[in-house]
């Protein structure tokens, strides 16, 4: 294939991390090109719980700072809504909810404990089974589908380019640098390459002789018909994550994941299992007042995890113009900050607003090749050709 118009920065993967990074770069006037195998945000980036409450992360403070501004910065709606409520049905659940709140408090955020009466006032569909909860005056949630599209459009508005339906097939390395990205629609020259390809990020690392331990897994979610809007839609608990959307749908996930085998570059299917029933049960337990509400859809997605569940956001030593960016299954909420962090790695060689040393690839230098076996993170089936995965994190 012929050489096509490359870019200063070529980003592999049109998921939420790659799009955010591309948007930050385009905003800074950088010539950026995003290559996406399918449609932007089509995998886990656009199908997740929409949570934006990750203050534990090195990106956490920036996440909290940026979300309230995102609609304005992007010029498109993200449906961001502030605050979170944690509902507990058991003492261990209450301890967990409080723990989340206390981590926020350590970062200077405010929260308060809710008793059953206060909880019922705020969340009328909880029942007598709720023993208490937390109200976080921080965190929030947004609409993943709308947000990924907003990043993509805003990136274009700043002069960046996105090529959809373009699968990357190889990386051209010359003189210790990646000089071009090879795709099904030609070869694109690049000064810097960002790999934000979700579960496939490891395959690109492999191409460069770098080991990035990633285990893909399938997870699923359910959505109900709309019900009247609650004062705060960011309500979760009972082993579920999720939110009430601004339309009124209850959208929740949780429960067993399925470790699957290494994806190739093809788009995955997104099956559900009968686990949708178990999810329905937990949702009805969490919200007995909504037990009569109808489930109208469910979906599944593929996400990736590193051995410690933390992101890898790092610039490779060699080739030294490549940045790896996987959010280890928790990418959506952190995307405003993570994308900014990646853009700074591109522009300045380091992230100026956060210490990313905990997210370096070097921490896995001693990880044995059979780490998945050791962790029990293995698929039941034999490796299957055609198994593939998404472009970003779930949350």
């Amino acid at each position: 294939m012929s050489e096509r118009q490359g870019a200063a920065v070529v980003i592999i993967g049109g998921g939420v991390t790659g799009l955010s990074a591309g948007w930050w770069l385009a905003r800074a006037g950088v010539d950026v090109l995003v290559l996406e195998r399918g449609i932007v945000g089509w995998e886990a980036s656009g199908r997740n719980g929409g949570g934006a409450t990750h203050v534990y992360s090195p990106f956490g403070l920036e996440e909290q700072r940026l979300w309230p501004q995102m609609d304005e910065l992007l010029g498109y709606p993200t449906e961001y809504q502030p605050y979170r409520i944690g509902v507990a049905l058991t003492e261990p659940q209450l301890a967990l909810a409080r723990r989340w709140a206390e981590i926020g408090a350590m970062r200077g955020f405010r929260w308060e404990a809710l008793d059953r009466r206060q909880l019922k006032e705020l969340v009328p569909i909880v029942g007598d089974s709720a023993i208490g909860g937390t109200y976080l005056h921080f965190g929030g949630h947004a609409n993943p589908q709308r947000t990924v599209q907003a990043y993509a459009w805003a990136l274009q508005d700043h002069g960046g380019r996105i090529l959809q339906h373009t699968t990357v097939t190889g990386l051209t390395v010359r003189g210790g640098r990646v000089t071009a990205v090879e795709t099904t629609r030609g070869t694109f020259g690049a000064d810097t390459v960002v790999v934000a390809a979700g579960p496939q990020t490891g395959l690109f690392a492999d191409m460069l002789g770098v080991s990035l331990p990633l285990a893909p897994a399938r997870v699923e979610m359910i959505a109900t018909e709309p019900i009247p809007l609650m004062r705060c839609g960011g309500v979760a608990g009972n082993g579920l994550y999720g939110r009430q959307t601004l339309r009124g749908n209850l959208v929740y996930g949780g429960g067993p994941h399925e470790w699957i085998n290494v994806p190739d570059m093809a788009a995955p299917d997104h099956p559900n299992t009968p686990l949708v029933r178990n999810l329905a049960r937990r949702l009805a337990e969490l919200f007995p007042g909504a037990a009569h509400v109808r489930l109208i859809r469910a979906w599944g997605g593929v996400v990736e995890n590193t051995p410690d569940g933390l992101p890898v956001i790092d610039r490779l030593a060699s080739p030294d113009n490549v940045i790896l960016a996987t959010m280890s299954s928790v990418g959506f909420g952190l995307s405003p900050a993570a994308g900014r962090g990646v853009s700074e790695l591109v522009l300045h060689g380091r992230c100026q607003f956060a210490d990313l040393s905990a997210l370096s690839l070097g921490r896995f230098a001693e990880t044995p090749p059979d780490w998945r076996e050791r962790a029990g993170w293995v698929s039941a089936g034999t490796p299957v050709a055609g198994a593939a995965a998404g472009d970003g994190g779930g949350d």
Binding site: D157, E225, A385
Partner: protein, 549 residues
């Protein structure tokens, strides 16, 4: 070294079916019953499920058919409706007598099969439900005979009670004997429209008119003349301007003559008194279960749109799944001659039984030879051009401020301008600059993407009332052939079911004990500034770690 499997993963606790059956047939119409009887005759265990009588609340949501609130209160009497479903379909009794396990009032809301990203199921299985509970049934072979749905096209006032589909009207009229309509206007003069009008008259329902956008009657001329002889005007070259009446009801339908360009002719409006407007423009195969079962679908306009790819034994691309009857492809010939569906059903039953080894090859071939070939019929023609003609005339007569999606209240204009939903009250210059045209620059049109942006098709009717009109409108607005617009995905549950019905009563202890909201990796959510501290969700295996460990 391999340790135990991740206890928070699905390994070892994948949901199991409460029952396993050799052959499950879904749909108790002509094709489904024939398939079930044929397979049972070969000595195979067969379960036949049919969702009739449909739960009254679901009917009110226009699921599975476009009932348009034209049910009499008697549909609330399930025992009575069950009796009528059996009475109106004597073949069901025949199936029961042939040894088929017949379960009525039972819908299928999901099909779950292993694939590249799902490997934990013991067997392919279906999710079933009645009005009280849901359960899982494993199968060796699945025969899908789920019929067809009405193609729905909107006009001003189509949200009113009394606007309904022809298949739903047939169902209420003949299956339930519970149609609450006195005087109906039928839209469409093809076989479907003429038949609807004829049936309505036979059952004592007045037919105010048949309205047809084409310049000529599309169906059988003799049948049309018979209807005219009974006083039913057939208004060709006409379309609908709007449905009128007091709040939420239909009292009349205003129709208008159209010119060669499908545009309304000024001054030609006429108001037809009616309480019901029946869309009989076309039917499209109900393929959602086939899609979930993994069958490859292809577009064939002559068969009503997206249909399963089938071999001569009516086997789909999935070796264990067969399709028969209207869901395998609908055309006017199917309507005229139920033998076609019956024959497909018998073929499916034979093929499924043979594939299980219940019939030898020779025996199966002999049986097949007893099936008459399909009677000669006119080769079916494409239908989407005609549907587009209807849509074009409705746009000319009714404008762009008409809902294309009722559940989510998305208008035609909002769809083609890819507006975010009104409740967001979002405005920005950037958003205003985006449209179908700008999307087209980035790639081919994709109905699922438009759905996410506008919400058209995301409501409780699960896009049964808007799927086709959204596709037709997108095709029209972008100049894309409708077959090039990818079929939007179907997701389980394909019937909107209450959480309390889906709720499994049989959850194993491990499911409960090891349930976590995300992966349960203790370091995943640990505060980065406190090295070594982990936070773990409470499970039977894990514990909440509150301090440094």
């Amino acid at each position: 070294m391999r340790r135990e499997a991740d206890p928070r993963s699905i390994a070892g606790k994948a949901p199991r079916p409460e029952r396993h059956v050799a052959i499950v047939v879904v749909g108790g119409g002509a094709a489904g019953v024939a398939a079930a009887v044929e397979a049972a005759g070969a000595g195979v265990e067969v379960l036949l499920v049919d969702e009739n009588p449909v739960d009254n609340d679901m009917m009110a949501m226009d699921v599975p058919l476009y009932f348009g609130q034209r049910m009499q209160p008697s549909v609330r009497n399930r025992a009575l409706m069950l009796a009528r479903v059996v009475e109106s379909n004597p073949a069901l009794t025949g199936a029961y007598e042939a040894g088929v396990d017949v379960q009525l009032g039972t819908c299928v809301w999901g099909a779950f099969v292993n694939g590249p990203t799902m490997q934990q199921l013991d067997a392919p299985m279906l999710g079933l439900a009645d009005e009280r509970r849901s359960w899982l049934v494993g199968y060796d072979r699945l025969i899908v005979a789920t019929g067809a749905r009405d193609v729905v096209l909107g006009f001003p006032g189509w949200e009113r009670a009394g606007v309904m589909g022809a298949n739903a009207l047939f169902s209420l009229l003949t299956r339930y004997r519970a149609l609450a309509a006195r005087r109906v206007v039928v839209l469409g003069s093809g076989s479907l429209g003429l038949r609807t009008a004829t049936r309505a008259l036979e059952h004592g329902v007045d037919v105010a008119a048949i309205v047809e956008v084409a310049p000529r009657v599309r169906g059988d001329a003799q049948r049309a003349r018979a209807l005219e002889a009974r006083g039913v005007p057939i208004l060709t070259s006409h379309t609908v301007r709007d449905a009128r009446g007091p709040v939420g009801e239909v009292e009349s339908l205003v129709v208008v003559r159209v010119d060669d360009a499908a545009k309304p002719v000024a001054g030609s409006e006429r108001e037809l008194a009616c309480d019901t407007v029946c869309l009989a423009v076309g039917l499209t195969p109900s393929v959602e279960l086939l899609a979930l079962a993994g069958a490859r679908l292809r577009f064939d306009s002559a068969l009503g749109g997206w249909v399963p790819a089938l071999d001569e034994a009516v086997r789909t691309s999935v070796a264990t799944v067969f399709a028969a009857g209207d869901c395998a492809g609908f055309h006017d010939g199917m309507l005229a001659n139920p033998e076609l569906a019956r024959r497909q059903g018998r073929l499916a039953g034979l093929a499924a039984a043979e594939s299980l080894g219940a019939l030898g090859r020779r025996e199966a071939a002999l049986q097949r030879a007893t099936l008459d070939g399909p009677p000669p019929t006119e080769p079916p023609g494409e239908v989407h051009g005609h549907w587009q003609a209807w849509l074009g005339s409705l746009i000319h007569a009714g404008g762009w401020e008409v809902n294309v999606c009722q559940c989510e209240e998305v208008t035609r204009r909002e769809l083609v301008e890819t507006r975010p939903p009104r409740y967001l009250t979002w405005q920005s210059p950037q958003m205003s600059a985006r449209s179908l045209d700008t999307l087209l620059r980035d790639g081919p049109i994709n109905q699922d993407q438009i759905k996410r942006l506008t919400r058209a098709g995301m409501g409780p009717c699960q896009s049964r009332r808007c799927r086709e009109q959204v596709a037709l409108l997108l095709a029209r607005a972008t100049g894309t052939p409708v077959d090039r617009i990818p079929l939007p995905t179907f997701r389980p549950p394909i019937r909107p079911l209450p959480l309390s019905v889906l709720w499994p009563g049989d959850e194993p202890p491990a499911m409960r004990g090891d349930w976590v909201s995300w992966f349960g990796i203790p370091t995943q959510f640990s505060p980065h500034w406190e090295a070594g501290m982990a936070i773990d969700e409470p499970t039977a295996h894990g514990r909440l770690i509150l301090s440094d460990e």
